[in-house]
Point group: C2
Chain length 429, copies 2
């Protein structure tokens, strides 16, 4: 039921490419709807948000006040949790905070011999928006993973939006918001929530950056407001790539693949192994364990469409393939994981050794679970504190420094035909 | 001829907003053309690039080989420069390199009491593309500013594209490429160059990120390939905001405004000052100096349409306005610039004191001249080494650490209805 490939197949590369290919079709209907929604929210503000929420979320509010969750309700949600869940949420929150504290960027400065001082100053964003999807993909862990880096960065105000179709509020999500120190929560979603955060309305303050996952409308709206505000990546389906040497329990590997596959049918789980008999044992574990899973249908569909067991020539080749795939999650399910580590250049997160499973990273190991998907780990990074800070260059020329550099600038400015640049520099000579 | 505002005007905020407003219209013609060009390049590769270059750049090449500039030609361009220009270029290159060396990000690691190790690893991108505009906006300084951070980051290969309409190659641009250590240069441009870099053709290798400014077609193409590859910001017109206390020479301030305005008609120069008589003196300097400028027509158009002299209540209010504007370039043309500095939260680069003029920063002070425009300094940073490195999270759980955290992860996973996540964690207990 799962795809089987071998790196010695003549058409291996093209089959791998087909397997990895995932391009969200640019849907003209979605594009037009988002254009209209953004225009409506910019023009009519709160009134548009209320109308659209009524229409898309079946939530009939007469004022924006009804669409804001009071702080006391967030706190009550937290207090209503059972001891086990509350402790788990608190442990996760604390570990995520501790890990991210290491990502805080620092100012730096150079002082030159002539007294010229150069450097960069790091400052937090003033206000950010966090989008939390509604319905089945509404995860309290995502609230923590999006809000905590902003909090650690020192962002002044965190505004969360989370649609509540039919008015149903998710207690765990609200509890996570309370714990993470989210400042305000609005029960709105879709392109209208993104537009409201980007442009502001009478009741919803405009933010400087919007982060968090969402459906096709949300993704398109984020693309469209990019520039007006910052956005995080536009995330694709979640993926795991596992490199196994056969030293681990095949049930563990199978369950790790299920954990990825259970997210949704488009999620991707790929196993690379040089030992054909081990691949068979994993296949047997999959067949044995799948019927026991509550989300078996989603897992089966995901493994059939996008999963693969791939026989490779050796662990070196596995690392080469891993670099091509640049997976969101890479598990090194091998005896000597440290030996492979230097060979991996591209991955969102690497789980090193048999005890380091993605599910721990998803919730509570500490690192962020918002990671680059769809081969974008080639050029982008996990969500982090650095996404909520920005830098300003500082240039303080001494009189002597300006005199030295003015002729250099002027020579280059004249070469570019920019005379005012040249004179502006030469005035300081 | 330049706009005059006062912060005490009843309609000041709305006038300021109108002045700052700049939204590149989404042109349906550009969008369709870019869609077609990307499709053509993806489908036909080199043949499409050759056809499109013939059509848009009037450059009739029969093979891609003719559109690549050999390394020897880059070197010859460098050697053909006069001593003054060559020294200026070398000085700029060295200072930019030295400054950016301070931006290199480092790996970090936490070791926990139970032996669990967490951290992040920083690695350079494998291959990047640099877009250098052709024609009048073809600046050697931009080659340095885009290529040097990539070089310092340790990027494996730097591919430059620079259209040469009619086949005219810019010696200074090629010399800068040689000096910056660009690996390959193709004389192609437009959406076809962006598509070729993003998807690769038979002759042009696909890159991981594309940076550099360009016209509306280039900007739209970059937006469209975003996700497939990384991109830098989509830049708007360049801007300077000057805060003056009246202690500087008004001619200097006027010329600094000209230096911004001479870029193009859409560039923006704004002066804030609490001293009405000083504003008059700057206006006189503008009137006096403008006729002497070779690019007087562009400067005049820019100052009339988008420039302003703004009377403010005091320097504190000037800082507040500066934070709202979040200018690309902010000059503190005041006696005690250090006193203002802590009050500024948002700017791309701050030029501190009378000797620190933007023109020095544009060429050779060391900081990057690619800076966030259009209020995006609220959430983004100057181009830097950090744009050419990315991070990978590392998670190496000890057996004991996994046993401790497995129940935490499981409690949260069950709360989210993700049973395979819970079991995958609990297997490690």
């Amino acid at each position: 039921m799962i795809n089987r490939l071998s790196s010695t197949d003549a058409d291996f590369r093209s089959r791998l490419e087909v397997l990895l290919a995932f391009e969200a079709a640019l849907d003209a209907g979605v594009q037009q709807a988002v254009t209209d929604i953004i225009h409506d929210v910019r023009t009519r503000g709160d009134a548009a948000v209320l109308d659209l929420t009524r229409r898309f979320d079946r939530l009939d509010a007469s004022s924006m006040g009804q669409l804001e969750v009071p702080k006391a309700e967030l706190q009550r949600a937290l207090e209503s949790l059972g001891a086990e869940q509350r402790t788990a949420l608190e442990t996760a929150c604390q570990r995520v905070r501790d890990y991210h504290a290491h990502q805080v960027q620092q100012d730096w400065k150079i002082v030159e011999a002539d007294g010229t001082r150069l450097g960069q100053r790091v400052t937090p964003l003033d206000r950010v928006g966090i989008y939390v999807p509604g319905g089945k993909a509404s995860y309290p862990s995502s609230v923590l993973m999006n809000a905590m880096p902003a909090k650690v960065a020192g962002v002044g105000e965190i505004i969360m939006v989370a649609p509540t179709p039919g008015g149903e509020r998710n207690t765990l999500v609200l509890a996570a918001a309370a714990l993470a120190g989210v400042d305000r929560v609005f029960t709105i979603g879709g392109a209208q929530a993104v537009a409201a955060l980007a442009y502001g309305t009478q009741s919803i303050p405009e933010v400087d950056k919007i982060v968090g996952p969402g459906n096709a409308y949300v993704a398109e709206a984020k693309r469209r407001v990019f520039g007006r505000v910052g956005i995080d990546m536009v995330a694709g389906p979640s993926e795991v790539l596992i490199i196994a040497d056969g030293s681990g329990d095949p049930d563990w590997v199978a369950m790790d693949m299920f954990a990825q596959a259970e997210h949704d049918e488009r999620a991707q789980s790929i196993l690379l192994c040089p030992d054909a008999s081990y691949l068979e044992r994993v296949a047997e574990s999959i067949a044995k364990l799948l019927p026991t899973m509550p989300r078996a249908d989603i897992i089966r569909a995901s493994l059939q469409d996008r999963g693969a067991l791939i026989l490779v020539r050796g662990l070196d080749e596995a690392c080469e393939i891993a670099n091509y795939v640049a997976a969101e999650h890479l598990e090194l399910s091998v005896h000597d994981a440290e030996a492979l580590l230097p060979k991996i250049r591209h991955a969102g997160a690497i789980f090193i050794g048999h005890w380091s499973v993605e599910a721990l990273g998803d919730y509570c190991a500490g690192p962020n679970h918002v990671l680059p998907t769809g081969r974008s780990a080639r050029f982008s990074s996990p969500l982090g504190v650095y996404d909520f800070q920005k830098r300003t260059s500082l240039i303080r020329m001494s009189r002597e420094g300006a005199a030295t550099l003015a002729p250099v600038a002027a020579a280059l400015a004249y070469g570019e035909g920019l005379q005012a640049h040249a004179l502006s520099a030469l005035y300081r000579k």
